[in-house]
């Protein structure tokens, strides 16, 4: 059996057997959809006249996917290093790239399933999201977004040595980023300087591309720009992640 197959199979079993993480990954973003859906039910955003749901649904979906990508790999790496499992892997001929590739495929699968479940729920009559014809363009955006946030998660998982540290660092990154990137509140409602600040945040570009693809707002160029910037973030954080990777807590 190849190392890649073995690791991916073990990762899949660990994922589906972990009920708490399954809930956190798949149901938690839906909870936000319900809360924001109730608050802004039937309202339109004043500045643009578009319904809230068309902002909130792609935004919360992007945050949920990004959050799961960061937390999933960060927890796994922290735990594997703490339990000395990384040392075990280090002593086998399996290269680090194979280990990360198996985690990458798992993260992509989780993210795509998350997005599909989320969009399906958002299209229910109570929420009333309607998909634009160019919705398939959300797939490249998701793949690139998951790649960028997985790379961020690798860095978090390298520096955090405890579950508490993973949760603290990842939440400090992801919660403010969600608000500042327009995942929970439409950016169009924010002051223009905040909108400028959001341009340094990777989640902003995943939101833009996902919103553009799912609801048809904005131009195709917005989706293209979003994907291109996410690709850049993925390269940058991926390089940092590989550079700073540690096999063991012991020096």
């Amino acid at each position: 059996m190849s190392a890649y197959t073995a690791l991916t199979a073990a990762g899949y079993r660990a994922q589906v057997r972990d009920k708490a993480t399954l809930f956190f990954t798949f149901a938690f973003p839906l909870l936000f959809l319900v809360v924001f859906g109730l608050i802004f039910s039937g309202q339109d955003v004043e500045e643009t006249g578009r319904p809230y749901i068309s902002y909130i649904a792609p935004g919360v979906m992007s945050w949920g996917v990004a959050n799961a990508a960061v937390f999933g790999i960060a927890f796994t790496l922290m735990q594997w290093r703490r339990d000395d499992l990384l040392r075990l892997i280090r002593l086998t001929p399996t290269p680090l790239t194979t280990v990360l590739a198996s985690r990458y495929v798992l993260a992509l699968a989780v993210g795509v399933v998350q997005a599909a479940v989320f969009v399906a729920v958002a299209m229910l009559p109570g929420f009333g999201l309607t998909l634009d014809g160019r919705w398939p363009l959300v797939l490249p955006a998701l793949v690139l977004g998951i790649t960028a946030f997985l790379a961020i998660g690798v860095i978090v998982g390298t520096y955090a040595n405890t579950p508490e540290a993973v949760a603290a660092i990842a939440n400090c990154l992801m919660v403010p980023m969600a608000f500042l990137s327009g995942s929970f509140l439409p950016l169009d409602m924010m002051p223009s300087w905040l909108r400028q600040v959001s341009r340094v945040l990777p989640l902003r570009y995943l939101n833009d591309a996902a919103t553009g693809a799912l609801t048809g707002s904005g131009s195709l160029a917005t989706i293209g720009t979003g994907c291109a910037v996410l690709f850049g973030f993925a390269l940058l954080f991926g390089a940092i992640g590989l550079k700073t990777f540690r096999w063991s807590n012991r020096t």
Binding site: M1, S2, A3, T5, A6, L7, A9, A10, R13, A14, R17, D18, Q79, D83, D84, L85, R87, L88, I89, R90, L91, T92, P93, T94, P95, S248, T251
Partner: protein
């Protein structure tokens, strides 16, 4: 098992030359040189903090020595050499398991990391006696079972060189004895085993040679038998108390010291044969036990744990040595104790 064609026959499995490693202001390994021969069962002994783990991790290629040379199966273990790694097996911490997997699923995954199939995992589970627990989640295994699974992770890919770190530490006496048989079988297949332990009776029973590390240096390096012989520690005769007066016994020719300990009259002597004869003539040998020096005596003398004036702690606590000797099976190597029947 693979053999390395570009290596001369008879070259050592591991060669360590003047290896040093410093952490901050602590010299963990301070100029160690030793060879582990092919097919040898090599014990690395020493108190906690003596540098055993650091030295083993340098051999495994997990750490880089500050200076000195290390060759493992003819290769340098540092930097990570993916051609060398499949030829060695390393027992890791008993926590290094893939989460939420059964014992078998974990081992199949480890086998996969070595590009081996699930049948290798099943065979190894049987070797370490975990076949019955193969469907138990690793989180639910007992301490001893986790330890055996960690050992299995070191064996699953059929390595020719095996590193084991206190493999019997968390095992009950039966499991420990079972593991001895596993280790002996591995050795009989020609594999080289390097292991650490705090069970000195076990090292004496299993190891071809041992190195005793103290403060990062090798304090002794030889076969257990030669170490014990060379140490020249006295033998002890244990007589049921009351059979002979202490002063009377001390006056016997050849007796260096006579004391009463734990219900026995203990005679220390360098000439046990002569003293036995004398005791036989006086009281008979019924219930008389002789105890020769053990590796533990040598170890404690070298590591300085023995109290001044009581260099042979087995005498201070005869029960401990009895227990240790009691673990040794009929085929378990040197007997340290003999009961004489009249």
């Amino acid at each position: 098992m693979t053999t390395d064609s570009n290596q001369p026959p008879g070259s050592p499995a591991i060669s360590v030359q003047d290896v040093r490693k410093r952490y901050g202001d602590r010299q963990a390994v301070d100029g160690v040189s030793l060879d582990v021969r092919r097919g040898e069962f090599f014990g690395l002994l020493g108190p906690n903090g003596a540098g055993k783990t650091t030295l083993i991790e340098i051999m495994e290629g997990l750490r880089q020595a500050d200076s000195g040379t290390v060759r493992v199966l003819g290769h340098s273990p540092w930097p990570r050499d993916t051609a060398l790694l499949p030829r060695m097996g390393v027992q890791t911490q008993a926590s290094a398991f893939f989460v939420r997997q059964s014992a078998r699923e974990h081992l199949v995954t480890v086998a996969g990391l070595y590009r081996r199939g699930p049948e290798a995992a099943d065979r190894t589970l049987e070797t370490v006696g975990l076949t019955e627990q193969c469907d138990v989640l690793v989180e639910n295994l007992s301490g001893g079972q986790r330890q055996r699974l960690a050992i299995a992770s070191a064996l699953v890919h059929d390595p020719e060189l095996i590193f084991l770190d206190e493999p019997t530490a968390a095992l009950d006496p039966q499991a420990r004895r079972d593991l001895w048989e596993v280790l002996r079988a591995l050795k009989s297949e020609g594999r080289t085993i390097v292991y650490t332990t705090h069970h000195l009776d076990e090292a004496e029973a299993l190891c071809d040679r041992v190195a005793i590390l103290v403060d990062g240096r090798t304090a002794a390096l030889d076969s257990p038998h030669r170490l014990v012989t060379a140490a020249g520690a006295p033998s002890r005769l244990l007589l049921p108390q009351g059979r002979l007066g202490v002063e009377e016994a001390a006056a016997l020719p050849g007796v260096d010291r006579a004391t009463v300990q734990g219900g026995s009259l203990v005679l220390e002597t360098a000439t046990p044969g002569k003293v036995l004869q004398a005791v036989d003539a006086l009281t008979g040998l019924d219930g008389v036990m002789t105890r020769t020096a053990t590796l533990e005596d040598v170890y404690l003398e070298l590591t300085g744990a023995a109290h001044p004036g009581a260099a042979h702690p087995a005498a201070a606590d005869p029960g401990a040595a009895d227990t240790a000797a009691g673990h040794l099976g009929p085929q378990a190597g040197p007997h340290t104790q003999t009961e004489h029947q009249a």
